[in-house]
Symmetry: C2
Subunit: 660 residues, 2 copies
């Protein structure tokens, strides 16, 4: 054990294990998680060469191998709880995406939710047994966010009782679905349904892609891998071009909408049913943001405790780089953010499960709010986490660029969350739509409930004259007071956005153009709303924590989180009169004090995330802090070192020397 990191652990003021239980959601959950991790880590079938040393095709190959074994072992161990499957799967693939992700996460669930009983009979067991390996083909080359724009067609032919599936244009080629390129032999394809001469919009169709025996693509199916990406080497994201592919009528998913034998279209009873899945996935992504940032902080903070560099005081030994104020200022607010997002993720999960109960009983009343919240928080957390991972990486200096640090991998695997499942700016504007609607309701005298109820207060207290004359009451040492400040900032920025729309309308532009011409303000309002929610939830979490030591350190983190946000957005707080200039200086001063206060607990706080070395897979983030010897050992295994002399010497350099 590196003596620096040992000393850090000795200096901690709280019980790390207790904090781990809080993060896991209870001592039992910690125990079970560790059991599953041990199961995978000790399994010789899941050992493999470092993925960084493999080509893309080899990485894909290794991932398919692991996924196949995983399916067998899950059955062998009888792991069937979705959360436990997720945990096992994350361990096997070390948090990376894998070729069967969409089969497990989209194909099977879509069958469960949208297949008729007869379709379940036909497809579910073969899919469960991986005879059918499926994916979910929605996005097209020219169409992402805007589902109505999808061009793939399914035209019903009553003569044969078949749908004729087509990709009529180059932009209509399905593009991006995971597992589509090489792994899947089936896909659920989203296509515009045409029957009896009319288009009935998007429907889902089960389309066989490859021979069940030979895996060779079927006639009319042009399918393949979309090529290398920024990360995601293990996944065969694919393309699919359909050329008059005929599928039987019963291959349209018919639990809700139907096409009868003669081609008559029968509408589904409600359009809200698919809403829930999106909310669920976006809530999960908030948890992923916490996870990615927590891993990055673990690596950067442990490394900062063992790395010595430069000098603070001349003549003394080189200090740990964590002693530099600038290093603390880079890392500790991100550590606080990781904790904040962990708690937001827990909250989203709870709310989702509560509301799911309501939905199954036909009560959709809370869904719009949750939908808006999950959209905005998905964008808010993934943007800050992505940028934060890179800050952590660069805080490790040169070694952060080595793949042995794991940080490049964490970044490329996480950053796509900013784009998939709803592009972030679009998500922010969806949240804004809800906020503006709520603001208008409040202005019209309606009493709002839920998380936007502050817009009622603001309607009363935030009149222009009152803003500027209101005394600044923020207490920079009191978290409740800061939560209030964030709330008023959000209220004010929602109001500003609404007013911008109003001003645009007065210029006689259309409602839609007024919206677009105010989009910068709308995104800013959503951002402030989400920030308020995060600070509020962090503060609320503190109320649940009994242990004094843990409570104390988390309170410091929460205060740091809130104050750093104020410093970063000081313009907003000054502009809205929520903070005075002298108070802003207090904020800066207090922030520095909090950094110093957190310093002794920094390593313990990342230890509490409880990432085993095998899961973190980072030489810089090793628990024992013995970084350098392992970095050397790792480098020597690099493929370029397999021979002492690379063949390019004989091929190019030696002949060149002869010529010059």
């Amino acid at each position: 054990m590196n003596p620096d990191i040992t000393r850090e652990r000795e200096n901690a003021t709280f019980d790390v294990e207790k904090l781990t239980h809080i993060l896991d959601g209870g001592i039992e959950k910690t125990k079970r998680r560790r059991e599953i991790e041990s199961l995978v880590i000790s399994d010789p079938d899941f050992q493999s060469e470092d993925l960084n040393f493999l080509s893309r095709s080899e990485r894909y190959d290794a991932a398919v191998k692991k996924s196949a074994q995983m399916i067998l072992k899950l059955r062998e161990y009888g792991i069937s709880d979705p959360e436990e499957i997720y945990c096992y799967k994350s361990c096997v693939h070390r948090g990376r995406s894998e070729p069967l992700d969409l089969h497990l996460g989209m194909f099977l669930p879509t069958l469960l939710n949208q297949a008729s009983p007869e379709q379940m009979e036909t497809f579910f067991i073969p899919a469960w047994n991986l005879e059918i390996i499926g994916t979910y083909a929605q996005t097209e080359m020219g169409h992402g966010t805007h589902l109505r724009g999808l061009e793939t067609t399914a035209t019903y032919d009553p003569a044969t009782q078949e749908f004729v599936m087509n990709s009529p244009t180059i932009t209509s080629i399905k593009w991006w679905p995971g597992g589509l390129g090489k792994t899947s032999n089936y896909a659920i394809v989203l296509a515009q349904l045409h029957t009896q001469g009319k288009c009935h919009g998007l429907q889902a169709f089960i389309v066989p892609l490859r021979s069940m025996n030979t895996h060779i693509p079927l006639p009319g199916v042009v399918v393949g891998d979309i090529g290398p990406k920024f990360g995601f080497d293990e996944v065969d994201n694919g393309y699919l071009k359909l050329e008059n592919v005929r599928i039987p009528r019963d291959h349209m998913l018919m639990k809700y909408a139907k096409v009868e034998a003669d081609g008559t279209y029968v509408k589904p009873p409600s359009a809200k049913l698919t809403y829930g899945t999106m909310v669920f996935i976006r809530s999960m992504i908030v948890g992923e943001a916490a996870h990615a940032l927590a891993k990055s902080c673990t690596i950067a903070i442990r490394y900062s405790s063992v790395r010595h560099q430069s000098e603070i005081r001349p003549g003394e030994p080189e200090p740990q780089i964590m002693d530099y104020q600038t290093q603390q200022y880079k890392l500790f607010p991100l550590l606080a953010t990781a904790y904040a997002y962990k708690f937001v993720g827990q909250y989203m999960n709870q709310v989702y499960h509560r509301i799911t109960g309501d939905i199954s009983q036909g009560d959709f009343s809370e869904l719009p709010e949750l939908h808006a919240l999950s959209a905005g928080l998905k964008a808010f957390t993934t943007w800050t986490a992505s940028a934060g991972i890179e800050v952590c990486r660069m805080a490790c200096g040169g070694h952060g660029y080595s793949r042995c640090s794991a940080l490049p991998d964490i970044y490329v695997n996480f950053v796509p969350t900013c784009t998939y499942e709803g592009e972030n700016t679009v998500m922010m504007l969806q949240t804004a739509r809800f906020l503006i609607k709520s603001y208008r309701q409040a202005s019209a005298g309606h009493q709002l409930s839920g998380i936007v109820s502050y817009l009622n207060e603001s309607e009363r207290s935030l009149q222009p004259q009152s803003v500027s004359s209101r005394p600044t009451v923020v207490n920079v040492n009191d978290l409740a007071s800061l939560v209030d400040a964030y709330k008023l900032r959000a209220a004010k920025l929602v109001e500003l956005a609404a007013k911008s729309i109003q001003q645009e309308l007065q210029k006689r532009v259309s409602q839609e153009d007024a919206w677009n011409n105010s989009a910068i303000d709308l995104v800013r309002a959503s951002d402030a709303h989400c920030h308020y929610v995060v600070v509020k939830l962090f503060a609320a979490k503190l109320g649940e924590i009994g242990d004094t030591g843990v409570h104390s350190v988390l309170s410091t983190l929460a205060l740091l989180y809130a104050l750093q946000g104020i410093q970063q957005h000081s313009g907003d707080f000054l502009q809205t009169g929520l903070l005075s200039v002298p108070q802003l200086s207090q904020v800066s001063q207090r922030l520095k004090e909090l950094l110093a206060q957190l310093r002794p607990n920094a390593v313990a706080l990342v230890d509490a995330f409880d990432y085993r070395d095998e899961m973190l897979n980072s030489v810089l983030g090793r628990y024992d802090g013995n970084v350098y010897e392992h970095m050397f050992e790792w480098a020597r295994r690099s493929p370029l070192n397999k021979t002492e002399v690379h063949e390019s010497y004989h091929k190019y350099l030696k002949p060149l020397q002869a010529k010059l």
Copy 2:
């Protein structure tokens, strides 16, 4: 040609070609650059498969091949001007780093600058003819920024008149030098010189690493590749462990410092001589920042003009995504930044060449200021450009993640500039040191010259009482007024940082601890200083431009750049009383107007950067805008598509299906 992008070009209000000449530095330079580009692009020896489809070892192999050919062709064509060599090399390697970079950029120049005439005789011609392929080994595994901390030793043995080179610890292993792993057979090694029982600090030694005949490492030399990184696949960054490697006395570079036969150490006449190279490289990096951002903007803006998505007005066709205000707000300020950095790069280059003349005549007076400026601007521009590349990438939605967009490559190849040649935070603190020193001189009544002379003004005009009572005079439509506001902000933040140090000293902490405890404020002050310099140089450039159309569009860009910076840092401008709350609303409003105003010129402005498709190498950024068909064509060539059925199907999936 895609009709959307044709229409964009038709709508431009200025002469693109004229702007290209300004960017290149004159019509003749544009012409010569294009000649060199054509030379490379039409050369069949430089055609190769898409690097994205190759393994790392194959990419290294391809790079060595091209570099070898490049050396031959440069001689064949008689290209010898350093700028032209740089241009040719960039074309050959499409802006990527390559295995001979350090041979050409560090080994040969170091010989030229630091070798004695006898050493030149021995080493230069073999190195010029690539018999000797050299690198520059400075950084060690445990030591980067802090050169005094380097541990490698060179101990003089007068008995044999040799130096004994050693890597005494694991942390002393040389780590990162480009070309060290497999390519080089020599290195200039930085090591602590020990002679006659005393350490005389760092000296440079010429160390043979590999046999000149077989390329096999020599006895005592442990050398290899450090393994895969975030990008830089073409470069064999290496490690080097020296175990009692003996080199003759005349292998220490002896133009300045010397060790005599008996071991007597002779000091060099001046320590400032190596200063210049650092300044030069950092100035070059500012140009690279402009370049990377310009390429990213070209891709994102062209793609935004041909990509259609969602709807602004219901019922109308999907709009070009560049019509969304949020998209404009992401991209146009970055476009303005790219232009700003182009002009800053030109300025730095001019200043460097001017000062180099002075230095060669023994006049070092301007060097400290240039050193401070180049350090800060290197950090300022690389941070913003790195983040900006990612914004451009994400503004392309899903396809920005595909390697065919080129954006992932631009990012991973550029982002290391934040770390190498001086870690950015360290750079900012170096600039801060100069600013604080200048501030103290001004406070003591000295008249400052050069770029920091504003600290004299501030000393007079920025007394606490005058700040708060000073009328806000900023005119948000007048660039000169905005330059002034940036200047006063910088002055105020330098003052705040100086006061923070003062306050710390009053707590009786040491000077060094006071500095560290104020580091956040110091970085902030440097940042504001650099921002001021950039705005000022952009405004100054406008004065040189005669063409009305070009002048008009660049003025809009400059105003956008200045106003967006104010909006982003509105807290600073409010806090220092330079802007009032109503003015801030004016800034927001004006920004939106400028976005709309730039919209018709956006494509023309990126066209003016004049990147040929072969150089940009981006499907999304194609000049003709025909994105989708070429994306499909690219994907089909992906290695995973070489066979219809990937071997993993037969190895894992089929056997699994049999078991379930």
